[in-house]
């Protein structure tokens, strides 16, 4: 009971927060810059991939998933899985019409 909480923020976290905030800004800039490149069919996957990376960064640092308990991480994964069900099975219809 007296063990430190696994998700307690260490004092050194400030630096990491700021660093990852900068990463987020760079990713955002990359996504904006991407609109200037002739990516052709890769444009949409590229934009979505960058956005997904940003989401992952926010979730793991600002929401502290990295330090989270197994249970909390499981909950996060579960939501992704269910969103996947929704998308995959609905598109199973729309892509095969």
């Amino acid at each position: 009971m007296n063990t430190p909480r696994p998700d307690r923020t260490p004092a050194s976290a400030t630096g990491r927060f700021v660093a990852l905030y900068v990463v987020l800004l760079v990713l955002l800039a990359a996504n904006l810059a991407g609109t200037l490149l002739p990516l052709g069919p890769w444009a949409i996957p590229a934009r979505l991939a960058v956005a997904a990376t940003m989401v992952a960064v926010i979730a793991t640092t600002f929401m502290r998933l990295r330090q989270g308990t197994v249970l909390v991480r499981l909950v996060a994964v579960m939501s992704l899985l269910w969103i996947l069900f929704l998308f995959v099975l609905t598109f199973a219809d729309f892509l095969t019409r």
Binding site: F62, V72, F87
Partner: protein
Amino acid sequence: MTRTPEHTVIVAHQFENLEQQFDADLLGMWLFLVTEALLFSGAFLALAVYYHQYYDTFSAAARELHWLLAGANSVILLTSGLAVALAEQAADQGRRRAALLGLLATIALGLVFLAIKGYEYHSEYQAGLMPFLQQPFAYDGPNPHNAALFYNFYFVLTGLHAAHMIIGLAVLMVMAVLTWRWRDGARVARQVRIAGLYWAFVDIVWVLVYCSLYLVGR
């Protein structure tokens, strides 16, 4: 629980100790965020289906949006995400003033975001890009009917997000008051931590809204 000995803090009667209570609160918040994520994913699914069907029309329509202004808004919201994370950390370390400052900064940035969003809405209204409430629809690109669908999504998704921001701002204001009063530091830190989760989620939604409405069509 090193800083505050357990007998000085009040544990809700149904729990055995503070540890258990915090675990419960955290899990509860995460589950709530799961429901929020699924709520938005329904709307995103609908958008994705129509992108699939009307990609060219939608991307032409998307080009009319203020993508750079909204990009600046993204920066503002990401910054507020950093501010609330730092506020959580400060509260956790018992630094009351820093925590309060972080929260106030978050709230201020959130309000700026909403103001800019309001300006965007206003200019779309003036440009005749609001195809509902019997407004004239002045879009002159290809397939205006299908384009109207795009603008409907634009207003629904950003509106849904803005509604969540307003809720988030209200929660943060309560947190600011609690931090200012600082009755029971450990407790305030937990509450700020949980409120911060919600705000980070609002950030995540915006990243996706921005990408899917403003960028995918470009």
